[in-house]
Symmetry: C2
Subunit: 334 residues, 2 copies
């Protein structure tokens, strides 16, 4: 089976072969094919969103996806939750000498499929190859440009007392899948990453109500981390209801057994939306008509309480602080 | 001395500290400081250039620069040579557990200085930390957006017979510096990387003649690689004059001793411009008024010869093929 060699990263004949045989084979489009140092893009939006993310997930292949799917979904989602239509991605690979060409091709193929699925074009790329042992298989960076919808103002600092917090489905699926697969716990059962592009879901939400205050995807650090950031940025308190949190039984079981709290576990296809109470039901129902929002649920609300922190009313009747995560939850979750 | 830990990459409290204490300390600007998932940008150009590059250079610090300077210059240059005004960069770090915080701070400070110097803003970022041994110190990806000048049409496929090929100074400086530093050859002497942002030089060239056919920076694979790409894309032959190639004595000496050909050695502050003969002197003189073009020189021209390849008239009176590089020149040069 053929493998990546250092010469694939030297900028010469072998680099060209790799680009043509693998990257162009799947990513081919009118812009990329011009092979300029920089892609040239005509843009119909007055304002753009611009974002970047590197992906170092371990293992590279997991139930529900692989690093390539994650790399496309992650950047598409960062654009979508900022109120933008995802348009163009770049992708940059850092590949370990000896990496399987067949595995690389699967990853690239998945990226192309996910880009097609979410309506973005991959318009520029870069390939570096490093000596064996200087990277763990392959790391991928994707950067993305989106066009900001003019009548939308989604912002982390916009949460207001009275806002209802909606999540589009079960939490902790991605992180728990990675944890279990990495450790071969054997009780994975139906555990599967929720890795998905959320842009069409966000579009549906904005169609029914374009005044949504905040939307954020709950990746590293989980729902707890995102809500803490929003609480800080908007200077508000948030109160969650533990009994309303949608969590799959297998995630709950594995988390309990291993001592994790699903609120802190990464998701790759989940967002939290802050919607004024008057429009909350309407947005919730619209979300449930989308395949990625079928299990959408209200999980809490923004309050005037002093403290400007995140709290949770627990099932046993108490109230606890949901602090920002600290220390190592799990490295290389995404 | 403090060091990077896995918790700096977990998306929690320590990640926030790192972002505030190091990244925001130097990169701070009105757009970045909004801390959205995606930066929001108002764009005054109808067409954009979009590019990405990952940097894995070894060693991280070298005479004339470091990986941070390289990461900013590299992406600024990719935008500039495509006929665009570089506007915004993202930067994404993959850092090894245990990496020196002091070294990271030097790298970030250098990036901020080079961004300031080249007039771009760093508007979004990402930080991942991987376990010791899974990356070699730090790798950096930068992606960039530029606004394409409307009256300019620079393109790899635009080279025409009769075009004069101009380089803005001595070739092989960056690659030879890295080779010698990596191997501690001890004869580095005045060897220093040419790493520099070329956008103000390109602006000066376009001011005197905005009809320049092709501009490309000659990075991985050196001048030979870039000229082969242009020869292919434009379907023309190119003839270089060996006696006109500007090469520093120390680069020539080290290259001879180690068996390298400076034509194939990477540059990080050099471009090749293809200019119609009638405007060539004018562009050349303008380049020489810029600090990064003082040693600008005509090195060859585009011809009608059959073959559609790159040739060189040698000093001893022969003519040889300058082929596309093949195999491993040197890994991790940028």
């Amino acid at each position: 089976m053929s493998a990546i060699t250092l010469s694939h990263g030297s900028g010469g004949t072998q680099t060209n072969q790799l680009i043509n045989d693998v990257f162009f084979k799947y990513f081919s489009n009118d812009i990329l094919n011009q092979m300029n140092d920089a892609a040239h893009l005509a843009i119909d939006f007055k304002k753009l969103a611009f974002t970047t993310d590197s992906f170092v997930v371990n293992p590279l292949f997991f139930k529900g996806g692989n690093i390539g799917k994650l790399a496309v979904c992650g950047t598409v989602n960062d654009l979508a939750v900022s109120g933008a239509k995802p348009l163009y991605l770049t992708c940059a690979f850092i590949i370990e000498e000896g990496f399987s060409m067949a595995d690389l091709e699967i990853i690239v193929k998945t990226m192309a499929e996910e880009a097609e699925n979410s309506g973005v074009k991959i318009v520029a790329g870069d390939t570096k190859v490093v000596e064996k042992g200087n990277v763990d298989g392959v790391y991928i960076n994707t950067s993305g440009i989106g066009g900001i919808y003019e009548d939308v103002n989604i912002n982390c600092a916009n949460a207001k007392p009275g806002d209802v917090i909606i999540v589009n489905g079960t939490i902790g699926d991605h992180g728990m899948t990675i944890i279990c697969e990495r450790n071969n716990f054997g009780f994975e059962g139906d555990l599967s990453s929720d890795c998905a592009s959320l842009n069409t879901l966000v579009d549906r939400m904005l169609e029914v109500y374009n005044g949504i205050h905040v939307i954020r995807d709950a990746t590293r650090g989980g729902v707890a981390s995102v809500l803490n950031e929003i609480s800080d940025s908007s200077n508000v308190s948030i109160v969650l209801e533990e009994n309303l949190l949608p969590i799959k039984e297998e995630v709950k079981g594995a988390a309990e057994m291993l001592g994790f709290d699903p609120l802190y576990i990464a998701n790759e296809g989940k967002l939290c939306a802050f919607v004024p109470e008057a429009q909350a039901q309407q947005v919730l129902l619209a979300m449930r008509t989308h395949p990625l929002g079928r299990n959408a649920a209200i999980i809490g609300r923004v309050t005037n309480e002093i403290g400007k922190k995140v709290y949770m009313n627990t099932i046993v009747g108490g109230k606890r602080l949901v602090d920002r995560p600290s220390g190592i939850l799990l490295p290389r979750i995404c």
